[in-house]
Amino acid sequence: MRRSLALVLTGLLLVAPAALAQDVAIRLEKPWVRRAPLMPDARPGAESTAAGYVTLVNRGSERDALVAASADAAARVELHQTRNMSGMMMMEPVEKVDLAPGGRVELKPGSYHLMLIGLRRALTPGQTVTLTLQFERAGRLTTRAEVR
């Protein structure tokens, strides 16, 4: 009886990591958040903001997309894209960030980024921010991002 329980437990231990890896096709790499102060006269429409960055890797065979995000340090998070139009930097909200099967998209300065709006605390280097990313297929994934 005891031995069969041990066998089952061993089996679970062997199988569990593999099952998890298969279920979650999306991997989050190199998350970080840019340091930002709390603004002295923050108010609706003039909140304290910061940018978050992470590389999205799709190891699965299905298309997926980042559709929303949240952060423990901010009232809300929007998906934005900065585009360079002949030297004029244009920042625009985007509905989602598409992720092809086997593809990777780098959220990085001057490109796609998470805009944290309404900071609850000043973000100083060395702290961490918990980012939760919502994907169309993979669902909700959480990562801890270092403030730099």
């Binding site: 840019r34 709390l38 903001t49 920042m91 909200p93 001057g110």
Partner: protein, 201 residues
């Protein structure tokens, strides 16, 4: 419509200010970023400074001024530029004493001196933030060919807005001449190199 006309005007202003092509820049000197050929007097700039008093460009001679434009609600581009300018000063070592970073707001409605001070100060306490009335600032933007276009975020009340703006770094030499326009993404090494060239002339 008005906005389109403004954009066209701004585009014209940018063309007028655009640095010479790389070939000419190479002939004119050893600058690596976009060089102004010939060098021209930097448009005067006199604005209230976050460090107290008025910052007047013509009184800064003897230093290289790294002049850039942005706003405190800008989370992506502006902090990237300022963080790169921190790296530039670190790499310059002792020579950084002769470099002044000046950050002019493109958002006079939201950027009070206190906000600007909090924002620039977190990067480097020597950075000076410059604000002013909408009229004062618009004149400075125009003189440097910096375009600013407002974009309201849908569904926010009161409206949260973003500002499209030029994010180049202008370098003004110790004689007060406009010498370089380094576009966003110019390698830090190139900016360091060009500042050394201007300091050693």
């Amino acid at each position: 419509m008005i906005r389109h006309r403004m954009l066209a005007l701004v585009a014209l202003a940018l063309c007028a200010l655009a640095p010479a092509p790389p070939g000419e820049a190479a002939r004119g000197g050893a600058l690596r970023s976009g060089a102004f050929e010939p060098a021209r007097p930097a448009p005067e700039l006199a604005l209230p400074a976050t460090t107290g008093g008025e910052f007047r460009l013509s009184r800064q001679q003897g230093k290289v001024i790294a002049l850039t434009f942005g706003y405190t609600s800008c989370p992506d581009i502006c902090p990237t530029v300022l963080a790169e300018l921190v790296q530039v000063r670190v790499r310059l070592g002792g020579a950084a004493r002769r470099v002044q970073v000046a950050y002019v707001t493109v958002d006079p409605d939201r950027d009070s001196p206190a906000r600007l001070r909090a924002y620039t100060g977190q990067f480097d306490r020597t950075f000076v933030g410059l604000t002013g009335t909408a009229e004062q600032l618009a004149a400075v933007w125009k003189a440097y060919g910096v375009s600013v276009v407002r974009r309201d975020l849908p569904g926010t009340r009161p409206p949260m807005y973003l500002l499209h703006h030029s994010a180049s770094v202008f370098l003004i030499d110790p004689a007060g001449r406009l010498r370089v326009m380094a576009p966003f993404g110019t390698p830090v090494d190139d900016v360091v190199h060009d500042i050394r060239v201007l300091l050693e002339e």
